[in-house]
């Protein structure tokens, strides 16, 4: 079943008087359980695409279906619910709240999802355990290494049991060793059936995915399969 379907997505930005087309007729279908990477140099439109897929931005034209639901004309609050329930975000800079413990950071999406306090703590602890940080639950982000912070962020993304995990340069701020750890976690999640969409400009990282798309000047090129274990788009 397709988790994500993009049809002819275009995105224009007003730059001075002329609108600049950042995304040009992007078509993309992601099946459940797929692990794919989108590669492109900076300015290629990959972050814009990621924002649209992540319901943080709306396309200028085209249509978008997530988990069978058309996301056209949804209100801000409805989009917030979708981000909360169906999507998990992992950012390059982790974006952990500095004054909250790892556990509280992970529990935050559940708070917005209306989960009770006791269940929040249990599920957050479980999510932290799954990324190997059960010893670090009460640490503040500045007491953790970059790799550990990113693992907390992954736990936060996964705690709400999303349909799709979106990762924007998840290893961009990490050294190779920590980056590889993150990739191992992604691989493990993928093996458990998680659908993952990752943006990167590092070929080595992109190679960890099952399938790689290239984006250049706002145009998405057909995916190449890595290691021959992908489903065809």
């Amino acid at each position: 079943m397709a988790i994500l379907k993009l049809f002819d997505i275009c995105k224009d930005y007003q730059q001075g008087k002329e609108p600049v087309r950042v995304l040009k007729n992007v078509n993309l279908t992601v099946e459940e359980g797929e692990y794919l990477a989108i590669m492109g140099p900076s300015g290629s439109g990959k972050t814009t695409l990621m924002n649209i897929i992540g319901c943080l931005d709306v396309p200028t034209s085209g249509s978008y279906e997530l988990d069978g639901r058309d996301l056209k004309d949804l209100s801000d609050d409805e989009l917030a619910d979708i981000r909360n329930q169906k999507l998990g975000f992992v950012f390059q800079n982790f974006h952990l709240l500095p004054k909250m413990t790892a556990l509280d950071n992970v529990a935050l999406p559940l708070l917005y999802g209306g989960v009770g306090q006791k269940e929040r703590r249990e599920r957050a602890a479980e999510a932290l355990k799954s990324v190997g940080l059960e010893e670090r639950m009460d640490f503040l982000p500045n007491q953790l290494s970059g790799g550990q912070c990113q693992r907390v962020a992954i736990a936060r993304a996964m705690v709400g049991k999303p349909k799709l995990l979106l990762a924007d340069e998840p290893t961009g701020a990490l050294d190779t060793k920590a980056g590889n750890q993150i990739m191992e976690i992604f691989r493990a999640l993928s093996n458990e059936g998680m659908t993952i969409l990752m943006i990167t400009h590092e070929p080595a990282i992109a190679a960890c995915a099952d399938k790689i798309y290239h984006i250049l000047d706002g145009e998405l090129r057909t995916g190449e399969t890595v290691g021959g274990k992908s489903h065809e788009a």
Partner: protein, 418 residues
């Protein structure tokens, strides 16, 4: 909500210096208002107490000529004014809130009163009925009060107060001693004193000045004996005890109207009865002190306005600083309303805290002023509640703009900055 409040306290605590400086405007404004209100209240209560006498609640109604109190010391019995009958007295007792009515004659400046060779001057002389002492709350300190027989037989007996004991009898117990009043001999049968407190009962400005300038005292005789010393058919004064301070004005006016209607013959008489309403005079004095203080409150309110703008400023800085936090929260599913409430709560908690500190400083300041300048202060609980609620409202009002700004932040923009 609980979450937001604890978040707000965390935020305030993590920027202690900034929070204190932000709250300062609110603290100063609220402290000033509490101090001013406490001083106003204290002064007002003192005025009221001085003028009315605490808990006495007595209004006097007396005959006026051309708007001035008619004084029998220098004038004849007025034409066209009847003596107040017992029936009229009972009618007066039917007026709402009236508890007891007493009729009495008086001389503000007693003349021709001697004890041996000492003349009693500057004091007052009263001819009183059976209700008078209880209306004014006097008690017999020594000797006895007037009996029915004293009234029926028009006995020449008098009661004196402690002022007279001091000024005329040199402090010696006067019971059984004889006084000469208008060349007649009167026997002192008792000494009266205020029962409740030692504050004077003051029923007119004249009484007040009298009390301040002289303590020579008062002499009382039965009202039916009065004509033997003075004249028949003198118009009486009326003292009315009511059941509450606030009822004094209305009861006094009603009694004065009733007396004017019943006692004065002819419609275009130059005489009428008027109540000496101390409450009204007290209120005039109070409003005088209040109007100057109201201006002070306005000035203090400007400090609150400035404080509110300071809060808005800091909250805007805070929103800018926390752009990434807001962006992340929105990205993981926080709705606009939640972000709005978070920032509103933070500014409301900040200003409420300022309000509470302001109230505490205000109370301390008021006590200090009271101690240093001998001004009475009275801390008013409603003022405290209103101040704290008001400071919370300032937080909500001035926090609104920054909170709306935070809630409307575009998450993409917000996430890009870090």
């Amino acid at each position: 909500m609980k979450e937001n409040i604890s978040l707000a306290f965390q935020g305030i605590w993590s920027h202690k210096m900034r929070s204190v400086l932000t709250m300062l405007g609110i603290i100063i404004g609220i402290a000033a208002i509490i101090t001013i209100v406490s001083t106003i209240q204290g002064t007002n209560e003192q005025i009221k107490e001085n003028l009315i006498g605490a808990g006495n609640n007595v209004v006097t109604v007396s005959l006026n000529q051309d708007g001035r109190e008619y004084d029998m010391s220098w004038q004849d019995v007025p034409d066209g004014v009847k003596v107040i009958s017992e029936q009229t007295r009972q009618e007066l007792e039917q007026i709402p809130h009236v508890e007891k009515v007493s009729l009495y004659n008086s001389r503000q400046y007693a003349q021709q009163v001697f004890y041996q060779n000492t003349e009693f001057s500057g004091g007052q002389l009263y001819g009183i009925d059976q209700n008078y002492l209880s209306v004014y709350g006097y008690q017999i300190k020594s000797g006895r009060g007037f009996t029915q027989a004293d009234y029926d037989q028009c006995r020449k007996v008098v009661l004196v107060d402690e002022g007279v004991v001091k000024s005329l009898f040199g402090g010696v117990n006067p019971v059984g001693k004889n006084l000469e009043i208008q060349s007649d001999v009167f026997t002192v049968v008792g000494v009266v004193a205020m029962s409740e407190s030692f504050t004077p009962t003051i029923n007119s400005m004249k009484d007040y000045q009298m009390y301040m300038s002289s303590t020579t005292g008062s002499i009382y005789m039965p009202i039916r004996t009065w004509p033997t010393a003075y004249r028949f058919d003198e118009p009486q004064n009326v003292a009315i005890k009511v059941d509450g301070t606030d009822a004094m004005t209305d009861a006094g006016k009603a009694a004065a109207d009733l007396l004017t209607q019943q006692q004065i013959q002819g419609t275009d008489s130059k005489f009428d009865y008027r109540s000496q309403d101390m409450l009204e005079q007290a209120q005039q004095l109070q409003s005088l002190s209040q109007s100057t203080n109201t201006q002070l409150i306005w000035i203090a309110s400007i400090s609150l306005l400035v404080g509110g703008i300071g809060v808005m400023n800091i909250m805007l800085v805070s929103v800018t600083e926390r752009t990434a936090e807001i962006g992340l929260k929105k990205a993981i599913g926080a709705k606009k309303r939640r972000i709005l409430m978070q920032f509103l709560t933070e500014s409301a908690v900040l200003t409420s805290l300022g309000g509470v500190i302001g109230v505490i400083s205000g109370v301390i300041l008021a006590q200090l002023i009271s101690g240093m300048m001998q001004i009475p202060v009275s801390i008013s609980p409603p003022a405290i509640v209103v101040s704290v609620v008001f400071s919370t409202a300032i937080g909500v009002i001035f926090g609104m703009l920054p909170a709306v700004k935070a809630a409307n932040l575009n998450p993409i923009e917000a996430l890009r900055r870090n």
